[in-house]
Symmetry: C2
Subunit: 433 residues, 2 copies
């Protein structure tokens, strides 16, 4: 113990006392279900203490006997041990300029996605924009045609709101289906977005009679262009410059993006350079040849903007494994482009029986919502499912229900219930085959 209690130690006295007390008393003991725990929580995992073979931790670990790394890294990074918490390009994608990377949902908790792990979708790569050179043009059916600098944009009143953002192709309808939660539905993330309400800018330039749409264009190499109904633009659309407190990341539209809450991610135009007020939609490539839903009869649904209620169990999920029998907690996230999540039902028997999960506060409109529920596993096969219900009463459908209405080739807007199979071995795999 002398190493640990030399006088140069900043808290030697207290450490001496506590380490002495803990020296021999902190022995491992087998633990079963705690009656007290039953009263205090839904799940009482049969946590088994470390067997002697693993040995007790040293009374003073190596890192307690030395100084650590210095304070004040200008911008911090995750631990080098967190190798799994990274975003990856979707398997099979080979062209990184028009591609997407997924958020590792199965590695994350809560409703906020760290900016470094927010999903990406680019059509011509990530432009490297100098904010001092960037301009936003607002023109068309407006009283004034204006060009704003970033400094001018930031002088308007701004608001901060927690919202989800989801790609409409998350996931597509047809096999191969993903192995992990990230591969199945990792094109969704959550953040607090800060920006100027678009309605403030539209009122500032003045709308002319006949203004029915706003056509937004990005400054990327694809000049990504989408049309947004004027009613939505005068509701909750933001011209956003910050994400989770800091300025947008380059891959999220730095220095300026549109944010269209609850609508398919592709409409939240990144690297926003132009807003043209028009009397009709643009019918741009990204709302005609892409981002429409091909129906069974060969016709295409257009302007299918809203991301409907959806949920996914992230723990346990594909490629994870249950390592012991008894009580467990199932966790996941739910969201709806129509507003708040009202409830989430979960099933362990493939949808024959459902129980209502607990929602973690805060439950916010058009934001990720955390849910959790206890379940028992004693070596039998399980089929885990979650089913979101939003404040409009809309219930998340099964894939069969969705295909009956939309066919198999819609590509976009697949919000079907995701099943996870738990094998007798405890291994968890995608229940969709």
């Amino acid at each position: 113990m002398s190493d640990a209690t030399n006088d140069s130690s900043p808290s030697a006295p207290s450490r001496r006392r506590f380490l002495a007390q803990s020296g021999t008393s902190a022995v491992a003991a087998a633990v079963g279900m705690g009656g007290a725990l039953q009263a205090s929580a839904q799940v009482a995992p049969a946590v088994s203490a470390a067997p002697a073979s693993k040995g007790l931790p040293p009374n003073v670990p190596a890192w307690t006997r030395s100084l650590g790394e210095p304070t004040a890294t200008p911008y911090g990074k995750p631990s080098s041990h967190e190798v799994a918490a990274v975003r990856k390009m979707y398997p099979g994608l080979t062209e990184p300029m028009s591609a997407y990377s997924v958020t590792p949902l199965q590695e994350l908790d809560g409703i906020i996605t760290p900016n470094g792990l927010h999903y990406e979708r680019h059509h011509a790569g990530v432009p490297q924009i100098d904010p001092a050179q960037h301009r936003l043009i607002i023109h068309g059916l407006t009283e004034r045609e204006l060009i704003f600098t970033m400094e001018e944009i930031r002088q308007f009143p701004s608001v901060s709101r927690i919202y989800f953002l989801e790609c409409s192709g998350n996931p597509i309808f047809v096999p191969p289906y993903g192995k992990t939660a990230a591969e199945v539905t990792g094109l969704v993330s959550g953040a607090q977005w800060t920006g100027v309400p678009l309605k403030t800018l539209l009122h500032h330039v003045g709308l002319k009679k006949g203004a029915k749409w706003v056509v937004a264009e990005g400054a990327d190499g694809a000049a990504m262009t989408r049309s947004i109904p004027i009613e939505k633009c005068l509701d909750d659309v933001l011209v956003a410059f910050s994400q989770n407190g800091e300025r947008l990341r380059p891959e999220q539209g730095y220095p300026l993006r549109l944010f269209v809450p609850g609508y398919e991610g592709n409409m939240s135009i990144k690297w926003l350079r132009r807003l043209q007020v028009t009397d009709q939609p643009a019918y741009s490539k990204e709302e005609t040849s892409k981002y429409t839903d091909l129906m069974a009869d060969g016709r295409a649904r257009k302007f299918s903007f809203v991301m409907e209620a959806k949920s996914i169990i992230t723990s346990p999920s594909g490629t994870q494994k249950l390592t012991r029998k008894g009580s467990h907690e199932l966790r996941g996230i739910a969201w709806s482009g129509h507003g708040k999540i009202r409830s989430v039902d979960v099933s362990v028997d493939g949808g024959r029986n459902w129980q209502e999960a607990t929602l973690d506060a805060p439950v916010l409109s058009k934001a990720l919502t955390s849910f959790r529920a206890p379940f028992e596993w004693n070596g039998e096969e399980l089929m885990l499912m979650s089913r979101a219900v939003d404040e409009t009463g809309y219930v998340q459908p099964t894939l069969a229900q969705l295909i009956a209405v939309r066919g198999k080739f819609s590509t976009y807007h697949n919000n079907a219930i995701q099943p996870w199979r738990v094998a007798a071995s405890g291994e968890v795999t995608n229940g969709r085959v």
Copy 2:
């Protein structure tokens, strides 16, 4: 335009049409107050369009004429242009092992601090802990003495909550006072924390009669040790493993920390390795020689745990400058260790007159709350102040009121109103001299 509309461009048709339309129409125009804006927002900044000398933006910026950077950086970083959004060691600190770095509040928006910019306070540097080797010991006045691995901890039911964390020395009472919002009160940050309620673990090990305190010890070189009343431990204390969705950063206690909502940050023991249930406080170095408040009469307040209601204006704030006359928006954050922020009053005349600011949703208990209010500046001197009121009715005091009660040498728990002076030049400086 040929560069911009060659056929290899993924959206040439729409780009051709829109660029043609915008070619000559998007001219700069002088703009004054918009009547429409008056109706839609509190503040109508007199945004002046870019003068001809600055020139119009190119119809097609350079970055729109080329491909950008590839998709899927495994873990993203801020733009290289965001050089100001970094945390710095407090001016004058020379020993990085026992030091602190501050969150650049004046660069941030909203209630979530990016993990890379969360303030740091270390007493022996940042230990580099292997999570597979880390253990949590719970012993003392308990039915069972247990040693938990990280995997075992994560098998218990967990919750996610958005909370602020603040150092009790944020800031000290005596000069020199800081220049920026970060230097004045940058030892506060906000995040969503995920972990197991401590009450769940205490019920699991079983509390013995006479259990009144929990003494928490960290695995850092300082073996940081604090005593927490059992009532708080059975209320909302978390044993936390995630911050803003991802695992804790090393400087925030990776792989495991205590999180004590609303209490001084020092009690949220990082790198948590031991919880000893006792019948009395430890009177450790960090709750005797430090983290007590020296009163004017020479006695010390001990166990002054709760961080009382506080607020700071972050925009405009010290070292910033108002660049034009007319309407502006004042923005800031408020928080209280006692619960929710009820309201924030702001003053532009040094506290003679106050108006109520707008609070941005969500307003959460023991979390940062964003506020904003419009103000006019036409070249006169202003003294900007904000005053938080929490749900208990407690009103944030002036420094004079605080010193009258506590003297000048309390060191900790200075939640005084922060004044910012706006000079005739528009320059903003610390109003406390």
